[in-house]
Symmetry: C2
């Protein structure tokens, strides 16, 4: 984190609060932290009939502009709890915070800038009047006090701030691009998926066109993983609770799971939040020999996690998702080589999709908080050593993150960047020395002795939901031909060309292409525009000239005229391009 | 039902009870009904340390043989409740039955044959000593009194009986064949699926080889349904409860569902027991025009139903299953034509699989019990009329079953027969005039008015679980090449042929065939036997002669020597055969 920028953001949050209480004197400021792309401040507007809305943001910005030049500095003062309580006597939120500070025996500090005083730990810029210039309020939303649904709903105002006008402009530009590429917006426009209030939040219904993308990815994963020596299985979405007590996920992981289905006989069933224990049951379904290892079981398994409703976000954060999952059971000697192969599989997938910007995060145990984790010292050290050894043999940048390991071992996450620079954690990988023992998994070794297999966890393509969400943003909805729900749109210039257009569409369909005809009574220009809005990679324009010559006039989504072609020639070239999963549209 | 045969079976049940109480005088007979393939009788052996087992059946049969010639007739007497209670004073089960007869004001009748008297409604043969000759006790099992897990566990003895020795022999032959073809036995031998006590009863874990069969069927359905104008969707496995109150499944269908997941805020989520309401939500996700109809949404959707544990049976009766489901939304004018097309799709599927023996059952409302059903007279009459009209245009035998309609309309089930003559209900079809209204589904008609679409439900391939179970029995595990998990086994005669065998396997793999090599240090005969046990359709025997000539010696599972072939020639022929989904193995 950039300390200077954080201080600027924090200072701007004070400025926002000062402006709001000047405009709405009965508003109660609560807290105003720094976040990834700026800051926010939460207010209680209960003193007013209604809280401000989006339309009020420019008014608030204007007030901030007025106030900022008057702020020469942030002046700190340390006060007693009584003094602080007196000062904030009308603000129950601040009083709650003061109580906590007192209980925890922490210092209580106030910061004053201009006429505005706030309860604050500090961390500001030195010259607010000079530096607080390039800010913008970005949005407004409801948010529960302290994030709990049991508390009151407050109004959260988001903003961002930079040291220069140029940086702010660039940020706004990126935001506008991100907004255009918002997967929820494009998902709706292209009819890829929907979420139904009746079915439940965070549960994706894949519409026919989105389902095509999902299936193309899944088929690709199946083919690829077959070539890489994986075997596919299918396991149920539910299980008796005992499996998660064995794994150690219950009771600790309970809050992230849907509640159990309680049968009359006392048995409890859970929706699976991950596929691992089910795969372990397949491993354990008969005795295993070293000759079978590495045994790579793969499944696009559908899991359910009860994410907080405030966290849900389109396809990116959902409650039900189909994971590109696999568990590799191998000997300890095979583990490094297998893990390298898994890293290489990631590289292959990402390269094919034109994802060039990614790195690894190695999540380690917090050595100061060992109670949070299962397993002994030796196991943790060995798992880390094996993973580091594997990563040292490949050429991907890695950073370390202390304290974010899984409870049963260190992990390596792949972080991929979309074409507009946003990062997404997509795949978690582990060399797991813990669960094999926990589940009593065994294999008979060469010498006849029983050993416990190492388990490698991996999911290069993450979940269908998150991955398709990422790809929508990455390409702005302009999917390459192989992933496009409709690959070719046939555009008859007039009704007279309809019959020939249908013959063309039929032949393309027979060649295995996904094709539609625009039969509307529109102008050609309108038909082209419509196909472009639908982001269909190729348009075939059919007029009298084409019909006579038995040809098609090809146009790409990018408004490129690709010229007249023989239909057969076009179909062959496109089929070849699709088979090779090429990303560009040149034929 | 054959009344005469039923009377014979019922008489044999009396004979069984008489034999058991002679051998175990403290045994308490309870009830002994006729069932599909014979009869059973339930006994309480609480007076003994342990109940009889399989090993005792021949002893009981012998005793039956002894008793039968002494039974000249079944003599009826009508008695008062008191008299009956006195007679059965030591048998609480009979006393419970007598109480019920009394409560319902029914006649109480006894039947005496030889020394044996039983409480019985009647229905016997006239000359037991002549006719009770050709019987066999087939199995013994635990069963709860009156089928309820809350009651005591009794011992159930099953048997069968015929009028001639020939019929009994034929039956035993069929039973032996059925036993050999038992999908649970073959499923284990071929490693197709497993059920894990830890995951839960009735929940199938598809092992790699079974998963191949499942996916081949699914891919075939996807291709076929694409050709037939279906669009694929994917919907979640769960939903808020409201959806099932809308459909009318809750609360009435509750006993067949897993219990709800209850969230803290009072919301209840259910595992979906069917896909219909989810598909309706996709239909309802935006406005629809008549131009889009028929809209055919298809999904191999995974559903869960809480079947009673006593009903669970391998793949045939499960608690989680992936349904070959679709819902067709169309205008009323399109309904008959669409339904005919659905019937023809069934014919295409079954013909391809060599299922030639099937018929339809039209399930109608019980006109005497209209309270059981939703919807008005007109709707029921119209739905029945449309379905009859469609069926009249195809050439499939249909029988009628009064009283087994769904609560919202009549239905047509496909009943298919396996090659050993066992029947399986596989697909339910409906022209549904009820749910469209119930869910408020609409389309804008040509004239701009709003109308409710007709919904056609269909599932020609049933569920993966039941259908694969059926196919295992139908083929006795000898799957045609296109469905075989391993299509070719390469058998090197000696280790010297291993390298060439690997080249052969690699080339077949590249041709898209599923191939394995037997690298064990066994004799060729053992390798052939092993491949036959695994029911692999083709074996390629590789010796020095083949290696020199660059050929392969081909042998089919049916022990047919198909001669020497060029590898390329073999691969091409087999690929072609697989693509055509041919059932025989001739090349």
């Amino acid at each position: 984190m950039d300390k200077k920028l954080d201080n600027l953001r924090h200072s701007a949050a004070h400025l926002l609060a000062a402006a709001v209480v000047e405009l709405w004197p009965k508003a109660l400021p609560t807290i105003g932290p720094v976040i990834e792309e700026g800051f926010y401040y939460d207010f209680d507007f209960a003193g007013y009939k209604s809280a401000p809305g989006l339309e009020d943001l420019s008014k608030i910005e204007k007030k901030m502009m007025e106030i900022a030049p008057k702020w020469k500095s942030f002046d700190k003062s340390e006060v007693s709890a009584e003094e602080a309580q007196k000062l904030f006597k009308d603000n129950p939120y601040k009083l709650e915070l003061i109580d906590e500070l007192e209980k925890n025996k922490e210092k209580i500090t106030l910061y004053k800038s201009g006429n505005f005083v706030d309860l604050c730990r500090g961390g500001h810029i030195d010259n607010p009047s000079e530096e607080l210039k390039h800010f913008k309020l970005t949005s407004i939303a409801g948010a529960y006090w302290r994030g709990s649904e049991k508390n009151k709903m407050l109004t959260r105002i988001y903003g961002t701030v930079f040291f220069s006008a140029k940086e702010l402009e660039e940020y706004i530009g990126r935001q506008e691009e991100a907004l255009k590429r918002d997967h929820r917006k494009i998902g709706k426009e292209l009819e890829l998926f929907t979420i139904s209030e009746e079915v439940g939040p965070g549960l994706i219904l894949w519409l026919p066109k989105g389902n095509i993308i999902k299936e193309e990815i899944e088929n690709w994963a199946k083919e690829t993983e077959k070539d890489w020596g994986y075997q596919r299985v299918t396991t149920p979405n539910i299980t008796k609770s005992g499996l998660y007590y064995t794994s150690g996920h219950l009771p600790y992981y309970k809050d992230d799971m849907y509640p159990p289905m309680k049968l009359e006989d006392g048995e409890e069933y859970y929706l699976k939040p991950m596929n691992c224990p089910h795969h372990h049951m397949i491993y354990a379904s008969r005795t295993r020999s070293y000759k079978e290892l590495p045994l790579r079981l793969a499944e696009y398994g559908t899991c359910y996690r009860y994410e907080a409703s405030g966290e849900l976000f389109g396809l990116m954060r959902v409650r039900g998702f189909a994971q590109n999952d696999s568990h590799i059971y191998c000997t300890q000697e095979q583990a490094v080589e297998e893990f390298i192969s898994v890293m290489k599989l990631h590289e292959y997938y990402y390269k094919t999709l034109g994802i060039t910007d990614y790195h690894l995060v190695l999540s380690l145990r917090d050595p100061k908080n060992k109670k949070k984790y299962h397993g002994d010292e030796e196991m943790w050290a060995l798992a880390e050593k094996l993973m580091r050894e594997a990563v040292s043999k490949i050429d991907i940048e890695m950073v370390e993150d202390i304290g974010s390991a899984a409870f049963y071992g260190p992990k390596i996450d792949f972080i991929i960047k979309s074409s507009i620079g946003r990062e997404f954690g997509i795949s978690t990988n582990q060399i797991d020395l813990f669960m094999g023992k926990r589940f009593g998994l065994k294999y008979t070794d060469k010498d006849g002795g029983e050993k416990t297999p190492v388990i490698i966890h991996r999911a290069p393509l993450g979940s269908h939901e998150r991955f398709v969400g990422f790809l929508i943003e990455h390409w702005g909805g302009n999917f390459p031909a192989w992933l496009s729900p409709v690959q070719v749109k046939v555009l008859p210039i007039t009704d007279k060309n309809l019959d020939y257009s249908k013959q063309v569409a039929k032949k393309l369909d027979e060649a295995g292409l996904r094709v539609e005809i625009n039969e509307n009574n529109d102008t050609l220009q309108a038909k082209i525009r419509d196909a472009q809005i639908q982001k269909i990679p190729y348009m075939l324009i059919i007029g009298g000239k084409e019909e006579e010559a038995g040809k098609v006039a090809v146009r790409s989504r990018e408004s490129k005229d690709l010229g007249q072609m023989d239909l057969k020639d076009f179909a062959e070239k496109l089929v070849k391009k699709i088979k090779a999963k090429e990303l560009d549209l040149a034929l």
